[in-house]
């Protein structure tokens, strides 16, 4: 093992990262499994009981009860239940939905997931890039520009996503109806590869996208400004300046050094921003995971909620891992083997 990693610091870094992500994955699956079992009593009868408050026939109820008892495997010992759950998850079996019975949870999630990914990933990336540029400029220029940019970023980043979403929706979809107020596409269309559908989907995409980008810009700009100011005060910058190195060049060094922690910041933002972003989807009734989650919670569709939380975790872990891989390429210290993983 040791020989394998000798002179291959990047491989060592990757293996370490992969190990920690594996641990996090198992922990997440375990949380997904154990937390629902904190519900006192038999969760299946609690849930079916809640459903029977509505007008559901008793024969249907019994069939539901049998299905969910089998899915949950409640009559067996806990470790066996966990094993059943784990093997099910690995095979893509997330159980059966309550509200859309007899649809499988994974089949429903599979239709919503692309919408969420197509909305969130570009929004986070664009917000991240613009925010970093703004933060670096604020730190470099200082003075009035910095004050305006910094206070503006503080303001933007303190507006919760969904608050901005609600305000935008009211202003640009209701008061001045420039954009559609809800959904991912108009009712006349159905998802297909055509120009008409694409343009219509883009029209629906604009407002949620803009909301997510604006808030992300604020948060990233604050972080970048802080890092860049710190770098601007370091000895190497002072030295370079005293040597008469041109400003443009100094800024390039500063930007590259301040960038590194910001890349870690990108990984973090996938995890921390997802909550607000999901609610934003719900506000716009965007056909992604957020709206699905909103409905699932209202309908107490436990398997669906559990499936969505699991998929969100997996997606975020995957995104983090990808960022970490990129980080390993970019950070020269990792290539040189001076700094390892965590």
């Amino acid at each position: 093992m040791v020989r394998l990693f000798r002179n291959r610091p990047y491989l060592l870094y990757l293996t370490r990262k992969a190990f920690w992500y594996l641990v996090a994955f198992v922990a997440a699956v375990a949380l997904n499994f154990f937390l629902p079992r904190l519900i006192p009593g038999n969760p299946v009868s609690v849930i079916v009981g809640q459903m029977s408050a509505g007008a559901v026939e008793s024969a249907t109820l019994e069939r539901l009860y049998a299905t969910f008892m089998r899915d949950f495997g409640l009559d067996r010992p806990l470790p066996v239940q966990f094993w059943t759950y784990l093997t099910g998850v690995l095979q893509g079996d997330l159980g059966t939905s309550f509200m859309l019975y007899p649809a499988k949870v994974w089949d429903v999630i599979r239709q919503a997931l692309p919408w969420t990914v197509a909305l969130q990933v570009p929004a986070i990336l664009v917000g991240w890039i613009l925010g970093n540029v703004l933060g670096a400029l604020a730190a470099y220029k200082g003075g009035a520009f910095d004050r305006v940019a910094f206070t503006g970023s503080l303001m933007l980043s303190s507006i919760p996503y969904f608050c901005l979403a609600i305000i935008f929706m009211y202003l640009f979809a209701v008061h001045w109806p420039l954009f559609p107020a809800s959904g991912g596409y108009s009712s006349g269309y159905f998802p297909e590869w055509s120009w008409g559908f694409f343009l219509d989907a883009l029209h629906h995409y604009a407002l949620p996208f803009l909301t997510l980008v604006l808030v992300a810009i604020g948060g990233q700009a604050i972080g970048m400004r802080e890092m860049a100011i710190y770098e601007l005060n370091t000895d190497y910058v002072n030295y370079a300046r005293k040597l008469g190195v041109r400003d443009r060049r100094v800024v390039r060094y500063v930007f590259r050094n301040a960038m590194l922690p910001q890349i870690t910041g990108l990984a973090i933002s996938f995890g921390t921003l997802i909550g607000g972003a999901l609610v934003t989807e719900a506000v716009f009734s965007y056909p992604g995971l957020g709206s699905l989650l909103f409905t699932a919670i209202r309908q107490v569709d436990y398997p669906m909620i559990q499936g969505i939380t699991l998929i969100i975790t997996l997606t975020v872990l995957l995104a983090n891992f990808l960022v970490d891989i990129a980080y390993g390429f970019i950070d020269p210290r990792i290539r040189a083997g001076q700094a390892g993983g965590r």
């Binding site: 303001m155 005060n233 909550g275 607000g276």
Partner: protein
């Protein structure tokens, strides 16, 4: 009270504190002086426009939005404070332990913390909230607090590790001070400004977490919070109807509360972290 004099030097801190004080006064004194109806009392119909009796109109249940806003802000701050306290307590305990006691204990504690940081907090929040029936404001605060501490733990550990190498700690160690006393007397007091800033950030995050959970329909039962106000206004389509009074007040209050806290934090950062100041 040297510390207060120093803090007052930052305009950002003073502005943030001023806004927060105004919000607090509105939430705590408002119910006594500014309204004479109960938060759940029906005073009108579905989305009545603002009038002399109801300065911010009524919500979907015909309740006074102005009154709801006071009680809602109070609940949101209550949840935020409980969560901030719980998260800071756990985070500081684990962080100080991990930073002071090195070796296996540190590895284990930080490994645990880092794994929890990787899992998106909203996921744990949703699962916990669904599992806990009959959520009061305090239970919600605890739920949010127990999911939010890893960041504080990580930051406090870094601080503790650097404090541990200071001379006064060495001297205390030579004098035979025990580990517990060492952490409480020689390490913790030197991190107070830092811990307070971490608390402010936790408070901000918790207020937003409450709003997020409530918007999704996992809010506190039988009480009104800023998040539940938004939840109902969303469920009853106030935005599409154009009943701005049903959603603008809660939106604005959430934003200015978090803005004031972030502003306070930025002000303190400037004072306690001289490296963040511009030299030019």
């Amino acid at each position: 009270m040297e510390i207060i004099r120093i803090l007052l030097r930052s305009k950002r801190f003073v502005l943030g504190f001023g806004i927060l004080a105004a919000v607090l006064a509105f939430a705590l004194l408002g119910p006594r002086f500014l309204t004479d109806v109960a938060p759940f009392q029906r005073v009108g119909g579905l989305y009545d426009a603002p009038s002399r009796d109801t300065p911010l109109g009524t919500d979907n249940f015909g309740r006074d939005v102005f009154t709801q806003l006071m009680f809602g802000t109070r609940t949101s701050l209550h949840i935020g404070l409980v969560a901030g306290f719980v998260a800071t307590l756990i985070g500081v305990t684990i962080g100080t332990l991990a930073g002071y006691v090195s070796g296996m204990v540190e590895e284990a504690l930080m490994g645990f913390t880092n794994v929890l940081i990787t899992i998106p907090p909203i996921v744990v929040l949703i699962l916990l909230s669904v599992a806990v029936d009959a959520r009061t404001a305090t239970t919600m605060g605890v739920i949010i607090g127990v999911t939010a501490w890893p960041w504080t733990a990580r930051a406090v550990r870094a601080q503790t590790s650097s404090l541990r190498t200071r001379e006064h700690v060495d001297i205390a160690r030579i004098s035979g001070v025990g580990s517990l006393e060492m952490m409480l007397v020689e390490i913790l007091p030197y991190m107070f400004s830092y811990i307070f800033m971490a608390f402010i950030l936790q408070l901000t995050g918790a207020i937003l977490a409450e709003a997020t959970l409530s918007m999704l329909g996992l809010g506190p039962f039988q009480t009104v919070s800023l998040g539940t106000m938004l939840h109902w206004s969303l469920m009853w389509e106030s935005v599409r109807i154009g009943a701005w009074w049903a959603f603008v007040p809660a939106t604005v209050f959430l934003s200015i509360t978090t803005f004031s806290l972030i502003l306070m934090n930025a002000g303190m950062d400037e004072i306690f972290n001289p490296t963040l100041r511009h030299t030019r």
